[in-house]
């Protein structure tokens, strides 16, 4: 019987299978950021341990950083919140003490950890990758086995080079056909979460397959794998193809010369065998996917832009009805209303889901020559890394955003989770390109609608959610 891509990655990193069903898995790369690493470093220190392999690690500050240019210019001193500043300082101190490579705050390569990793080639195909952050699934776009872990596990990996894991199940989501114009990786991700639910992938690694996935750019695949966790899966995967190899080849930490040849030959084997058997298969028709907008407080509460918020009578059970009522009360929406009648106050284009250069281009293409609608009180564009920012500026995209009346910020997690000063006010409604619409995620009482960058830009121009294709075709 053939092997799945996940089986192959698992087997090539299996140090030891134990009687109790757990296994020791070798970890090739650990990414560190300021929020979930301090207790792990302290644990090492208290136990008098050293990192198992320093070269496995790379760190970058991202969650707490200010995205305002004038504050960033002052370095750590420009971080107003003391708790945030101490966390950032602690990352610097720990990395210095243990000689862990760190990309510092104002380095051009600094960015959201899941944008920086692939961009630098710090995360490569075939690797096992962990980070104290659930969106580590992003790196699976390069056929790496990547997932988020807790702080105790961060310490475990740091000290032992290994993680204790149970093997997951194999789930394949195949999307065949051609996506309609204006429909992106983000819409596929949201459509999948809508289809299988936020627990649909629990206990599984999801491999995304099919012609629509192969047609996605690497950025699009990262967006998709990023949200595997929103479908309950700790890992998402896409097989290696020419596009993967081309992307990796231009990264700074990619292997060179004879090592490249050796690596490439191996990477070309990173796909599921034709006769591999999956525990579960889900099939989607790409042609039927429309631009998506979430209306509730869970990513599975999603509809096509042409659709409506559900009615109470659409719900099969009392629990579902109560869930819907609670979500709609929090979101300030009426049952049955059209998605296009929802009017955001804030636009957020950024986060590890959608802050890569392709995302910037997609949003700018919609906004070019247009202005943000009068009801939009704030519109933030936060590139995922210094390099994305530089590239966007070289292409003049920053000017498009500024001309439209938007703020062009410095890289970081920003309003994705509102750990820095970029937050929603209670009751504010946001069209956001991030990945979670939980209550309070973008600020206490804030209301989040997840969309693609193009859809966020379209909502910015229209002042309400609207099909991006209408805006693009000169409808506004």
């Amino acid at each position: 019987m053939g092997k799945t891509l996940y089986d192959k990655l698992w087997e090539s990193h299996l140090v030891e299978a134990r009687d109790d069903g757990t296994a020791l898995i070798y970890i090739d790369r650990q990414l560190l950021h300021e929020v979930t690493s301090p207790q792990a470093f302290e644990g090492l220190r208290l136990a008098g341990r050293q990192p198992w392999r320093i070269s496995a690690n790379i760190a970058v500050p991202d969650h707490n950083v200010s995205t305002k240019a004038n504050e960033r210019a002052q370095g750590l001193a420009g971080v107003a919140d003391q708790v945030s500043r101490i966390q950032l300082q602690t990352l610097d101190d720990n990395c210095a003490e243990y000689q862990i490579p760190e990309i510092p705050l104002n380095d051009i390569r600094q960015g959201i950890v899941h944008v920086m990793g692939p961009e630098q080639g710090a995360t490569l195909p075939g690797m096992t990758i962990v980070c104290g952050d659930s969106h580590t699934s992003t790196h699976g776009a390069m056929a790496a086995l990547a997932h988020g872990i807790g702080t105790s596990e961060v310490e475990h990996v740091m000290a032992t080079g290994c993680l204790i894991q149970r093997k997951m199940k194999n789930l394949r989501v195949t999307v065949e056909g051609v996506l309609p114009a204006g429909v992106t990786g983000k819409d596929i991700a949201l459509a999948i979460v809508g289809e299988i639910g936020t627990a649909g992938g629990t206990g599984s690694a999801i491999e995304f397959a099919g012609s629509a996935i192969r047609d996605l750019t690497m950025e699009g695949r990262m967006t998709l794998c990023n949200m595997a966790i929103e479908a309950g899966a700790r890992a998402g995967l896409v097989a290696v193809d020419e596009r993967t190899l081309q992307y990796v080849a231009q990264t700074p930490f990619a292997p060179r010369d004879s090592q490249w040849e050796q690596a490439e030959a191996y990477w070309r084997t990173l796909h599921s065998d034709a006769d591999a058997v999956f525990d579960r298969e889900v099939l989607l028709d790409a042609a039927k996917i429309q631009p998506q907008v979430t209306w509730g407080t869970s990513p599975e509460m999603v509809a096509a832009v042409s659709g409506r918020v559900p009615r109470l009578e659409d719900m099969a059970t009392d629990t579902a009805r109560q869930g819907l009522e609670r979500a709609l009360t929090y979101m300030g929406l009426e049952p049955g209303m059209s998605i296009t009648d929802i009017r955001p106050d804030v636009i957020f284009i950024g986060s590890c889901t959608n802050s890569r250069i392709e995302d910037m281009r997609a949003a700018a293409a919609v906004l070019k020559g247009k202005r943000v609608a009068a009801n939009i009180t704030q519109a933030l564009v936060v590139p995922g890394s210094g390099l994305v920012k530089q590239q966007a500026e070289a292409e003049g995209l920053d000017q498009v955003f500024k001309d439209a009346g938007m703020e062009w910020r410095e890289p970081g997690c920003s309003m994705c989770l509102a750990m820095n000063a970029d937050k929603l006010e209670p009751g504010q409604r946001c069209a956001s390109t991030s990945n979670r619409n939980f209550e309070g995620r973008q600020g206490f009482g804030g209301r989040t609608h997840l969309v693609s960058p193009a859809m966020a830009a379209a909502a910015a121009v229209a002042g309400h959610f609207t099909d991006v294709r209408d805006v693009m075709e000169g409808g506004l």
Binding site: L24, E42, S55, I103, D107, F253
Partner: protein, 216 residues
């Protein structure tokens, strides 16, 4: 992790049922970047009359003189005597960190919440479940005798009472073994260090590029 074999310790009471982890260590302290330093904030809401803030000095705060753990006779205690379902609520590992930071090494109660119990073993704390009647007796003896101490012998799984009596108790083998040897998850994995190193050598031969140093 600290080794736990035999403990001769002063006993202090936490005389209420269903003590949850938020009571053990309130949520505002979770912002900390540390896993130590929670000791002064153990049972913060009960121990002090004002509201505790992370990183603030507790030495000048008004103490709740009616809270038993503040009584002079219980200072320096390392065994906490508690009631049923101790450690329920959120899974925060900060709860055992706070107990450990305040000097406790063992907790005796009729029952414990699951996650808290396993978090204790991970952090060198011994949770001992005894039947309710036994716990009642211990409470009585402790209240009657100032300076009431117990000796806990983990190897033998026995508690020795000052009057010479012993109380047997049970722990799971894995947890006991970890405590006796001072092994945490990491310590256990590191017992396999040679296996990991052998694997690593083969892995490096196959995938040398993975082992290149990242020059930032």
């Amino acid at each position: 992790m600290k080794v736990f074999q035999r403990l001769d310790g002063l006993v202090a009471p936490m005389d209420r049922a269903n003590v949850d982890t938020d009571l053990i260590i309130p949520k505002q302290f979770l912002k900390s970047i540390r896993r130590t330093g929670f000791g002064p904030n153990l049972f913060d809401e009960l121990r002090y009359l004002d509201e505790g803030q992370p990183d603030s000095d507790c030495s000048g705060r008004p103490l709740n003189e009616e809270f038993p753990l503040n009584f002079p006779r219980y200072q320096g205690a390392s065994i906490l005597l508690a009631r049923e379902n101790f450690g329920c609520g959120s899974s925060r590992e900060h709860a055992p960190w706070a107990l450990d930071g305040a000097g406790f090494r063992a907790i005796i109660a009729p029952s414990f919440a699951d996650i808290f119990r396993s978090n204790c073993f991970k952090n060198g704390l011994l949770p001992i479940a005894l039947d309710t009647k036994r716990v009642d007796q211990l409470f009585t003896q402790m209240y009657e005798t100032e300076g009431f101490r117990l000796v806990i012998d983990l190897e033998q799984q026995l508690i020795e009472i000052p009057n010479g009596e012993t109380i047997p108790f049970e722990t799971d083998d894995f947890g006991r073994n970890c405590l006796l040897k001072g092994l945490d998850d990491i310590g256990i994995t590191l017992q396999q260090a040679n296996v990991i190193r052998d694997f690593e050598r083969q892995h490096q031969a196959r995938f040398p590029w993975v082992f290149e140093t990242l020059e930032v």
